[in-house]
């Protein structure tokens, strides 16, 4: 039935942090009150990427985006917008109209202006639980076209021509991967979607699955057709309950519509998808470990070759692609490889999704064409560093990547340029650091993550990262020793070259890249016992200055009785007793305690 109005409420994990379904229910009540409930469609959408302004709601007509919607104001917004035809301006994020083309759908807004949404084209716009919504944006059209007009070889040809490369981080050409799997003569083959996203601060895959699960399904069916596989598996971590629920529903409705199962769209082609949950090990994002995990073993990588395309799941040829890679497939088929390859740089085509985090105004999910500079991402799309602080570095590629500095900001985002600058594309984590960040501490943080997530199989990663972590820990605690930086470099280089899998090979990257770009900061820690960002607390000295009014607040919180003084007089800290916990600094209302 035709609806006059539509209300789209973002239901990504971030926006849903209140009471799930609460906003929808209030909206329904308001509409009922005004007799508009039959004329309005309320739907839930996936992530729009504006997580810092969430919860987000879109009202049509007008495609007005409202931010910071909550139980208290949603009623008023709906009444004003629909009944009184008046926008509630203080909640409007932007009022630009949407274009029809999905990849430029949000016009010239600051946040969206430099974005180009291909993988995330439907996220935040359609109801991920409604297959009709997906169908209305040309969903499954690519599949229909492939099954009727293309031979498997022609599909692979298109993917090859598009120049699409693996979005999981390594950037292996997707078409070649497909071709290698298709070439194998085995009757049983598998297609796997890797949704085991585990980098700290990354939520690209989660949002993509939550926002548009059908795209992934469609991509996988096309992949299955191209390589000759009948079985698809989505390996997704159990910590993503909403994504799993939506994927389950999407698979069920696709099955109901004859898009999965036997004789898809009345052709000879049969394909079905099942979901396997991962228990949350970072290493299970590595393809061979992922396969082991699906097979029921402990997720530990195995040596390659043989590659999964030859000997993968249960020893059969297996095609594994990441969520974002799959999401690009239907678009490549629909709009053509030529169009797709016109976007991006010479060797990196299309777009890339990033999860922006850290010291940046617009934290959230973005998708930009390859070739966009880091500066554009951070300062235009991301809105720059908040509170007038100064940019220091940007960490891309998560625990596998490296840090880039001011002079690298004009680096264009593509696999080769990022690697040349000393970092990597990775799966899309991007953490912006300002002058308040200590680079040694950052390196320590990522290395600790890698060590904790090491599967323990190979010596360099298991033992080597532990020793590096010990060295970094003592440096941040002010116990660094002469030669420690050189030891980090020696171990780091060996671990990179000798480890079994990508996790180990890339684990030292954050350390080696920060040493390369911030060596003096390391040396200050080791030689001068100083942390210029005042992050490494063990090296700090807390002192009471002349602003002290003698309120005794600090005396009361000090756990070691290091602070003493007479009431109404300037207090002192006994440095031999101080454990640098910072409690006095936090409690002082007069800025009378300095740390340096």
């Amino acid at each position: 039935m035709y609806k006059e109005y539509s209300i789209i409420i973002c239901s990504g994990t971030s926006c849903q942090k209140g009471v799930p379904g609460e906003l929808t229910e209030i909206a329904r009540q308001v509409l009922l009150k005004h007799g508009l409930d039959q004329k309005t469609k309320i739907s839930l959408s996936g992530c729009l990427g504006m997580c810092s302004k969430g919860p987000v709601m879109i009202i049509n007509p007008g495609y007005t985006i409202y931010g910071k919607v909550d139980a208290g104001n949603i009623g008023k917004i709906i009444e004003n917008h629909i009944v009184h035809k008046k926008e509630v301006t203080e909640h409007v994020i932007h009022e630009d109209h949407l274009f029809n083309r999905f990849y430029s759908i949000f016009g010239d807004m600051d946040f969206f202006g430099k974005q180009m949404r291909i993988a995330l084209r439907n996220c935040g716009i359609i109801d991920p639980d409604d297959i009709d919504d997906y169908l209305s944006v040309r969903g499954y059209e690519a599949l229909a076209r492939v099954l009727t007009d293309y031979t498997p070889a022609q599909v692979i040809e298109q993917v090859k021509l598009s120049g699409l490369r693996g979005r999981g981080g390594a950037g292996f050409p997707t078409g070649i991967k497909w071709e290698l799997t298709a070439r194998e003569k085995e009757p049983v083959k598998y297609v796997i979607c890797n949704a085991d996203e585990g980098d700290p601060g990354a939520f690209m895959d989660r949002s993509a699955v939550e926002g548009d699960p059908h795209t992934i399904i469609e991509g996988m069916i096309i992949g299955g057709y191209a390589v000759g596989a009948k079985n698809g598996i989505v390996y997704i971590r159990a910590e993503y309950p909403l994504a799993i629920k939506r994927l389950e529903r999407a698979i069920a409705s696709a099955r109901k519509e004859g898009l999965l199962g036997d004789n898809i769209l009345d052709t000879q082609f049969c394909f079905d998808i099942e979901i396997r949950l991962g228990a949350g090990a970072f290493v299970c994002g590595e393809e061979t470990a992922l396969i082991q995990s699906i097979e029921g073993f402990r997720g530990m990588p195995r040596p390659r070759p043989p590659y999964p395309s030859v000997k993968g799941l249960f020893g059969k040829p297996t095609l594994i692609n990441n969520v974002e890679t799959w999401a690009n497939i239907p678009v490549i088929i629909l709009d053509g490889a030529e169009w797709f390859s016109s976007i991006g740089t010479e060797k990196s085509k299309g777009t890339k999704v990033f999860a922006l985090a850290g010291s940046i105004k617009n934290t959230g999910l973005i998708e930009v064409p390859m070739g966009t500079t880091l500066r554009e991402i951070i300062f235009d799309v991301g809105g720059g560093i908040p509170e007038g602080r100064k940019f220091k570095a940007v960490q891309t590629g998560g625990p596998s990547g490296g840090c880039l500095v001011e002079s690298d900001l004009d680096t264009r985002i593509d696999y080769e340029s990022l690697a040349a600058a000393g970092s990597m594309m990775g799966s899309g984590g991007m953490i912006v650091l300002d002058e308040g960040a200590c680079m040694v501490n950052i390196a320590r943080y990522f290395l600790e993550f890698a060590q904790n997530e090491s599967c323990g199989k190979c010596t360099p990663c298991r033992e080597g990262t532990k020793r590096m972590l010990e060295i970094l820990t003592r440096i941040t605690e002010g116990n660094g020793m002469d030669g420690d930086i050189e030891k980090l470099e020696r171990l780091g280089r060996m671990i990179q070259k000798a480890s079994l899998c990508g996790l180990g090979q890339s684990a030292p990257n954050p350390v080696l890249s920060t040493i390369a770009k911030f060596r003096s900061e390391y040396e200050e820690h080791v030689i001068d016992r100083k942390c210029r960002a005042a992050v490494c607390t063990r090296m700090l000295t807390y002192e009471i200055n002349g602003k002290c009014v003698g309120c005794t607040a600090c005396v009361k919180v000090c756990p070691t009785r290091a602070v003493s003084g007479v009431k109404m007089n300037v207090h002192v800290i006994d440095q031999s007793k101080c454990i640098k916990c910072g409690a006095c600094y936090e409690v002082c209302k007069f800025k009378a305690i300095s740390k340096q």
Partner: protein
């Protein structure tokens, strides 16, 4: 695929067979890349990273154990950078390893020690925290010391791939990764069959047998007991290796002389009780064959195998021969027949057994094998422990000769000797069953189809009108495969021999460690040990158990006849289903 391809190694040109790994190709060219987790009998792990090489065109090093060689490959095996990387990797292993080499069980025969020396680790650069775990001494047979584990994964692979027991797995991540039994329960409560093969393949001392030497020395000091030893066939076939001899020397008289010097009053031969086992087992088989069933009958000599069947194949328990193992038969006779002869109370007898086996330590403690409320075998030591005791007591083993096993439990036939090699029990049983069934003597007694190291061996033996179909398996994995065949085709065999360890007892978990120039589970070594036993058999005039005059005498004097009431009471036992952690009791499902 086996065509020859050109490769370059350190700039030199060679031609090698395609379809092999870089390591194998280099092995054939006179290189020996250092290695640790690699084992030729196990799947490729690629974990230790010691065997790395440089391959032109690859960004990173390649583990030569897993990387396939290809045409025109340019390999560098020895560069400054590579040497440093290998050295650093081994140092990293060493840094997380107890520094107690000179008080370690494996001092001098430890792969890590040798590797550290070869890599030139004279200084430590990266030392830090070391792992600290409790040592698991709960098992009667195998001690698990995770502090010494280098996480090469050989034990895990062996236990799952060769033994199909799966008692071990990895737990936790990163630096805290550890190999443990299911749920970190005590080893004694796990599915471990106590075969001890983990000890054999472990490069360090993360697994060792429960050491009973000190206990035995103390027992030997007791002036009020009669000290009686028994020695398993395979001990004599391997102990020489502990004294730097090549495998394949039969050292029975050196062992007897050494045991006497250690303080034993009588040294009996487990081969005698092996002959006795044959009398009982062959009789039991013929009884089953003549209609009483159930068939196939399966041997029960191997202790690890018995625990395996109780846990994993309880449905086959009715098929298991009720005969005790030769060790337990000997222990029982020592504490009954021989005690009566000596007019000594069983409590005043020390019954010690020297076995090639760790599982026998577990078997000796089984309550159902007790005789009149006390153990028939008081203490069990492995070949390795015996060798150490001899060294420790200052005995010149290689020159201690000239003594033979004592009567009346020391004379054995060649049939009892070959018990130690896979197929030996079956061969011995057929030699006697043939006679018992037909009244005629089997002339062609060397059953070559049952010898050798093939995983599962089959044969058909014609006794008059009757064709007996037999099968032999060694190693628990092969045994499991064989049982699966029997499940599908129950009438396929009449008689099955199963030994828990690869090669049979000669490859037992208590045998000497592989030396610097050999590898654990080496087939060549196993074959030489087996040949030592077959050689002894050939030299004997009595080669059939029923021809052993002392066997005939013990039946005449004491037991009556095979399967008599007294035989049943003393020499037979029963088995029952076991459900340790990791096994679901089949009754619980319904």
């Amino acid at each position: 695929m086996d065509n020859m391809i050109p490769i370059k190694v350190n700039g030199k040109e060679y031609r090698v067979k395609s379809g092999q790994t870089v390591m194998h190709a280099l092995d054939g060219l006179g290189y020996k890349i250092p290695r640790l987790c690699y084992h030729p009998k196990l799947s490729i792990e690629g974990a230790c990273r010691v065997c790395i090489v440089e391959i032109k065109g690859l960004k990173n090093y390649a583990a030569s154990c897993s990387y396939p060689v290809s045409a025109n490959m340019e390999i560098t095996t020895n560069s400054r950078e590579l040497r440093q990387a290998r050295r650093d990797i081994v140092e990293l292993i060493l840094d997380n390893h107890p520094q107690d080499c000179h008080t370690c069980d494996r001092d001098g025969i430890c792969e890590l020690q040798r590797l550290a020396y070869a890599m030139g680790i004279r200084k430590r650069y990266f030392e830090g925290e070391r792992k600290q775990y409790a040592i698991d001494t709960s098992s009667a047979s195998v001690v698990r010391d995770p502090n010494k584990c280098v996480l090469c994964g050989r034990c895990v692979r062996l236990c799952s791939e060769i033994q199909k027991v799966n008692a071990l797995g990895y737990a936790h991540r990163g630096f805290k990764t550890v190999v443990m039994p299911a749920f970190n329960k005590p080893f004694s409560e796990s599915v471990c069959t106590t075969c001890g093969q983990c000890i054999n393949v472990c490069p360090t001392a993360a697994f060792v047998e429960k050491n009973n030497t000190r206990e035995l020395f103390e027992m030997l000091d007791d002036p009020d007991t009669v000290k009686i030893a028994q020695v398993a066939p395979s001990v004599r076939a391997a102990i020489g290796e502990s004294f730097n001899l090549e495998p394949g020397h039969a050292m029975h008289s050196e062992i007897v002389a050494s045991l006497k010097k250690l303080g034993f009053d009588y040294v009996f031969d487990t081969q005698f009780s092996a002959d006795l086992t044959i009398m009982e087992e062959a009789s039991e088989f013929l009884e089953r064959l003549e209609g009483n069933g159930p068939l196939p009958m399966i041997t029960s000599c191997s202790s690890a195998w018995m625990k395996y069947v109780e846990q994993f194949y309880p449905e086959f328990i009715p098929n298991i021969s009720s005969c005790k193992s030769p060790m337990s038969m000997m222990g029982t006779l020592v504490k009954t027949y021989f005690a009566e002869k000596l007019k000594v109370k069983p409590a005043n007898i020390l019954s010690a057994a020297f076995m090639c086996c760790t599982a026998k330590k577990y078997e000796a403690a089984r309550p159902e094998l007790a005789v009149n409320g006390s153990r028939s075998v008081d203490i069990v030591l492995t070949t390795r422990e015996l060798a150490w005791m001899i060294k420790s007591a200052g005995i010149d083993f290689l020159n201690a000769k000239g003594e033979d096993f004592d009567a009346p439990l020391g004379l054995s036939s060649g049939a009892g000797t070959i018990f130690g090699a896979t197929g030996g029990v079956m061969e011995a049983a057929i030699r006697t069953a043939y006679f018992l069934y037909s009244g005629e003597t089997l002339l062609d007694i060397e059953l070559n189809e049952l010898r050798g190291l093939k995983g599962i061996k089959e044969s058909r033996i014609k006794i008059h009108d009757k064709e007996i179909r037999v099968a032999v398996a060694h190693g628990l994995g092969n045994s499991s495969d064989l049982l699966e065949t029997v499940k599908k085709d129950p009438g396929r065999y009449h008689f099955i021999e199963i030994m828990g360890c690869p090669g049979g007892c000669i490859g037992g978990g208590g045998q000497p460690y592989a030396t610097a120039n050999s590898i654990p589970l080496d087939e060549d070594c196993l074959l030489k040990r087996a040949e030592a036993l077959y050689g002894l058999d050939r030299k004997k005039t009595i080669r059939r158990s029923h021809d052993n005059p002392d066997i005939q005498r013990i039946y005449k004097e004491y037991l009556g006849r095979p399967l008599s009431k007294l035989s049943h009471q003393l020499l037979h036992t029963h088995y029952k289903e076991k459900t340790p952690h990791g096994i679901i009791w089949k009754g619980a499902v319904e």
